[in-house]
């Protein structure tokens, strides 16, 4: 009975879990919990969220105390908290690179790297290396093609940079990854597949590509959007409609008719896929264009 269920706010449910309801509230809540499956589901979800909030240190001091005193009283909840902590540890390590700015200033980093205060011959050597690096960077950036490539790998997806060695075809395959400057400890150079919009799924004439190599492999879909209206959502699905990856708006660079969509190899298995670009108008989402391809 959803209308009855709505009588309890998320905040009330949280206070129930923290043992902070008043006597009257408690009696009503207890009875309802025994009669309302919907409320039970909400309480179960709220339990998970509360454990997460504690693990991620988002509770205020008072709630923290209530949590420790009133919530952590069953083995199941202890395990719930351990899972929350595991999630925190698991995903915190993934975000460290982007979220943990160093306390050192650039000047301090440069000073440390240059080794100011060390013996002069070491300093001279480091200055020479620095000058060589600056010179190399300058020559790379001056070449328009290389410069464009260099910029494209630093820009997060969506990217609209065309790869010069691509062929636009219904089933074009680029067997070799484009030669790009990729840090060796990051993902492998993407294998790029150029796609044009299709009016329907044609399993006989479908663009085909080999599965990118291993966990570090990346498939870069280069999607032709010439003459296509602006879209605000991109979704990769299996041909049967199971969603694989979703991305926000993919916008082409000025003067470029393609957008790119990177798919980590670990998300792909052999089979046929569809790539949909859609847009939302007045709250209604409509498909704008679809591309199809096969992974072997």
């Amino acid at each position: 009975m959803p209308e009855r269920e709505e009588q309890f706010s998320d905040e009330t449910i949280r206070r129930f879990l923290l043992g902070a309801l008043t006597g009257a509230e408690q009696a009503t809540f207890d009875e309802r919990l025994f009669a309302d499956d919907g409320l039970e589901k909400r309480v179960r979800l709220a339990e998970c969220e509360l454990a997460d909030d504690y693990a991620f240190e988002r509770l205020n001091a008072a709630d923290q105390e209530l949590f420790e005193h009133n919530f952590m009283v069953t083995a199941a909840r202890h395990q719930q908290l351990t899972v929350s902590e595991a999630l925190r540890d698991r995903f915190a390590s993934e975000t460290v690179v982007t979220s943990a700015p160093s306390a050192m200033t650039i000047a301090e980093r440069l000073k440390e790297w240059l080794g100011l205060g060390q013996s002069s011959w070491k300093l001279a050597l480091r200055v020479i290396i620095l000058l060589l690096l600056i010179g190399t960077m300058w020559s790379v950036l001056r070449g328009p093609r290389l410069g464009q490539r260099f910029l494209s790998i630093r820009r997060p997806v969506p990217a609209g940079t065309p790869a010069p060695n691509l062929q636009m075809a219904h089933h074009s395959i680029s067997p070799e990854p484009p030669k790009q400057i990729t840090p060796p400890d990051q993902l492998a150079a993407p294998v790029t597949l150029m796609l044009v919009p299709q009016h329907g799924y044609d399993p006989v004439h479908i663009a085909t590509i080999m599965l990118p190599d291993g966990e570090r492999g990346v498939l870069r879909l280069q999607l032709s959007v010439k003459g296509t209206p602006e879209t605000d959502r991109a979704e990769l699905l299996t041909i049967s409609g199971q969603s694989v990856l979703v991305e926000g708006a993919l916008k082409p660079l000025p003067g470029v008719d393609t957008v790119s969509f990177d798919v980590p190899g670990r998300f792909l298995t052999a089979g046929d896929y569809q790539m949909k670009l859609s847009r939302r108008t007045d709250g209604v989402e409509s498909n704008v264009v679809t591309y199809y391809f096969r992974v072997q």
Binding site: F16, L17, G19, L21, Q26, F29, D30, E31, L33, F34, A35, E40, V43, R44, L45, C48, E49, D52, F56, N70, F71, M72, V73, T74, A75, A76, R77, H78, Q79, Q80, L81, T82, V83, E85, A86, L87, R88, D89, R90, F91, A92, E94, T95, T98, S99, R233, Q242, S243, V244, L245, V246, E247, G248, F267, R280, E285
Partner: protein, 184 residues
């Protein structure tokens, strides 16, 4: 001490089908534990089991005449059990909590290993959502969750529900995984 035949009678009273009766039993026990914990009981699981034991012993007397939602009957018995508990002299709580905490600490490594396994079992889209939802926690949470909701084409409240449902599935998967690994 609860006799097997009392327990069987209880299950039979809850539902004729054994599997269905098991599901109802679990549901009732979970609700009893949640309510007793919310009322500030230090041992909600023990009191919930005490409640179930008492109902089991009364099934013979009530099964012919009781009318209404059976689960509600447990609530009445639980109130009695709770009143009795409140009259008892307070017991030290530390040993039980420490015991529970130690038991969980023993499984922490297993839980981390099982988390990886369970993440791998998620559908790619669910995995992507949960990874980004929890990664967003470490940064400017509200903004990132708004952007994440936009990306998945859902409202922020819907995103929260979907992420928590995946989180709940993970919890169940991890519990099963830990249990399976603990078996000899």
């Amino acid at each position: 001490m609860l006799q097997q035949e009392d327990f069987d009678r209880l299950m039979n009273w809850l539902a004729a089908d054994a599997e269905q009766a098991g599901a109802i039993y679990e549901k009732i026990r979970w609700r009893l534990v949640a309510i007793l914990a919310s009322r500030g009981c230090r041992f909600p699981e023990e009191l919930a089991d005490e409640t179930i034991d008492r109902v089991s012993r009364r099934v013979t007397d009530i099964q012919e005449t009781y009318v209404g939602e059976k689960a509600i009957y447990f609530l009445g018995v639980m109130n009695n059990v709770h009143h009795e508990y409140l009259k008892r002299p307070p017991l030290p709580v530390v040993p039980l909590l420490n015991e529970g905490a130690r038991a969980v600490a023993d499984t922490t490594e297993q839980i981390h290993a099982c988390l990886e396994k369970c993440l791998n079992k998620l559908a790619p889209n669910s995995r992507q959502m949960i990874e980004q939802y929890y990664a967003a926690d470490k940064q400017a949470k509200i903004d990132l969750r708004k952007r994440l909701a936009q990306k998945f084409g859902v409202s922020t409240s819907n995103l929260r529900l979907r992420a928590l449902r995946i989180r709940e599935k993970l919890q169940v998967c991890i519990a099963r995984c830990v249990e399976a690994e603990a078996r000899p």
